[in-house]
Amino acid sequence: MTKTTIPEEEFTYPGSTGCPGCGANLVMRYLLKGLGDRTVLSIPACCWAVMPGYWPSNCLKVPILYTAFEATGAGISGLRAAYDAKGVKDVTVVGFAGDGGTVDIGLQALSGAAERQTDAIYVMYDNEAYMNTGIQRSGATPWGAWTTTTPGGATKNYKHEPKKDIMAIMQAHGIPYAATVSVAHPEDFVKKAQKAKSLKGLRFIHALSPCPPGWRMSPQLTVEVARLAVDTHLFPLYEIDDGRLRITRKGKGTPVKEYLKIQGRFSHLDESQVDSIQKTVDERWAKLLKRESEGA
């Protein structure tokens, strides 16, 4: 019998209403494998507010508190305070929000929760746009991407601004643990979730979450595109544990064009634009290696 390298137990039932190939489904699946059944989730407006299914169904084996879009940081603060007040032990409070609910409208509440050292895990599943409302740009949409509010057109109005660096923002709060995870690397993902669980204070997990309809790609490419994001160094896997940065998967250094070319949202980019993305990725990767060697 072969032994799996991640826990076999599943905490998701069939019945998620996510699209075929939804990366966010896998994010939830691996996260819960790492955290287990004493998890309580706080989920704001986002695709995952819909995916558990219509009331009274719940495709997860853990409870969910649905909150207003911008309220995840406050939701986890309230849950934690109540469990502390009531003496409820052995509970992992988790905020689970999209990129828009995290880097844009929910940033204030998240910042507050981090500054207050709220004892909870905050997971941002990053599909790089407001997908629930139909693929509008967010602060986490990468430079050059097409969305319905950066639609190109005669003025070539694609996303003109780079992606917000949420990991740097969270690190600047001095939180005990922050990590990036990918659905193409479940062992690394689950290990980081388990580590986050073992710590106290606000722990932050940034999960790249491929979205076939939003990224304009075929659903069977979800894991492949996630793997390419790591291999191209576009989405490096690392953790910052008590201020020390460690890269957990080096990736092959595949050219970014391999990642870009399988996604329709980047199909309008010309060669020089791809080159400039490559240059930015290389610079950021070099910086990350340097930070790792310097231990920060």
Partner: protein, 395 residues
């Protein structure tokens, strides 16, 4: 124990006496001394609660919502811009059927900036599904917080309540207040123990998506709950009187209305002044009365109808204004009494916005104007009181 304290301290003592377990709050003038006092209570260990110093009022309410869903009794306090920032989550709290109790120190909205009393902030939250109790004394503030928890948490209600203090007039004015013994409060108000709460190991969804064929039933039940809160409140106040010896007149506190020919309806601290004016006018043989709107929600519909069929004139004083209509109290009271067989001539007075004083003299003139209007017939006007540039002199 009898102490001299402000309305804000009365709120803090009310939350403490009610054994709130989680407090999440954000400072705003003139609410600040409530949260400071609660921070003191928690820091000194006098109060066994978790205090979350949130970064906004929106988060204050969102944190209370989460904590209450997890089974903790919660309390917060705010005012004006803080309350209106909460608007989205106020709706959330009531629709989630969470019996959160909050003090709102009612203050005018900017611009122009004003930190003084009016009721625009509270009235603008009318449709959020919260009970609203306007208070006229600091003792009433403390007592209503204790009563509110009991009403809100009762099984057939499960709705939140807002206790409203007039900015500065109550919030920063000291009066003697009786702080009840903790054991007596404990015997009156049992610990919060909801039927359902979010807890590890129970895979439930709180606030899941519903279809159009499911949604209306949730709203219908909330409507019934608010309706039933009316009688529930009266029963709780009766019980409160038996235990503490104090009562405040139900949802519509009528003062010398029994044989009155005309009455004025007012809420909050103005009502206390108006009661003095009623006494003075009664001494001069004028049959006037004062009906203090204590609860805007649940609305004292039957009380108003009973009152309306006894009087010939009814003035309604609103300390807020609904642009394009009239004062919100006025339009609601008018609608409520419309189908009475016998109904009075009515008139709306908009007064005291942004902390402008509503003096006894002004109130007396309002009573006289109601008398005149009732005699003349007609009415149904909206008059702005004591505004520069208008012909009528009120001072």
């Amino acid at each position: 124990m009898r102490m001299v304290m402000t309305g804000n301290y009365a709120s803090a003592y009310g939350a403490k006496a009610s054994r709130a377990e989680v407090i999440a709050a954000y400072p705003i003038t003139p609410q600040t001394s409530i949260v400071e006092k609660l921070a003191d209570f928690v820091s000194s260990g006098e109060m066994n609660a978790k205090y979350i110093p949130v970064e906004s009022e929106h988060s204050a309410m969102a944190a209370c919502i989460a904590a209450e869903t997890a089974g903790a009794r919660t309390y917060t306090a705010t005012s004006s811009h803080g309350l209106t920032l909460m608007h989205e989550v106020l709706m959330w709290a009531s629709a989630a059927r969470l019996p959160i109790v909050m003090t709102n120190v009612s203050r005018a909205m900017a611009p122009p900036w004003s930190v003084w009393v009016d009721h625009m902030d509270s009235v603008a939250q009318r449709d959020t599904g919260w009970m609203q109790f306007f208070c006229e004394s600091n003792q009433e503030v403390l007592d209503t917080i204790i009563m509110a928890y009991k009403v809100c948490e009762s099984r057939g209600v499960m709705l939140p309540a807002m206790i409203i203090e007039d900015a500065f007039i109550l919030s920063h004015t000291s009066e003697p207040v009786d702080v009840p013994d903790q054991e007596i409060v404990d015997s009156f108000l049992p610990p919060y123990n909801p039927e359902l709460k979010i807890e590890p190991g129970k895979a439930m969804g709180f606030g899941s998506l519903v279809r159009p064929d499911q949604y209306m039933e949730f709203r219908y039940k909330a409507m019934q709950a608010m309706r039933d809160a009316h009688d529930r409140f009266l029963r709780v106040e009766k019980e409160f009187k038996q235990v503490f010896g104090r009562e405040y007149g139900g949802l519509l506190d009528t003062y010398r209305c029994d044989d009155a020919e005309v009455v004025l309806v007012a809420a909050g601290s103005t009502a206390a002044t108006a009661k003095d004016v009623v006494d003075a006018m009664r001494e001069k043989g004028q049959p006037v009365g004062l009906a203090r709107l204590r609860a805007f929600r649940p609305f004292p519909h039957e009380e108003f109808r009973a009152l309306a069929s006894k009087v010939s004139g009814m003035g309604v004083l609103d300390r807020s204004y609904t642009f394009g209509a009239a004062g919100a109290f006025y339009t609601e009271i008018k609608a409520s009494v419309y189908s009475c067989q016998k109904r009075p001539v009515m008139k709306n007075y908009i007064a005291g916005l942004g902390g402008r004083d509503i003096t006894p003299k002004i109130l007396e003139k309002i009573f006289e104007d109601i008398q005149l209007t009732a005699k003349r017939g007609g009415g149904d006007e909206v008059e702005w009181v004591d505004v520069a540039g208008l012909p009528r002199r009120w001072r």
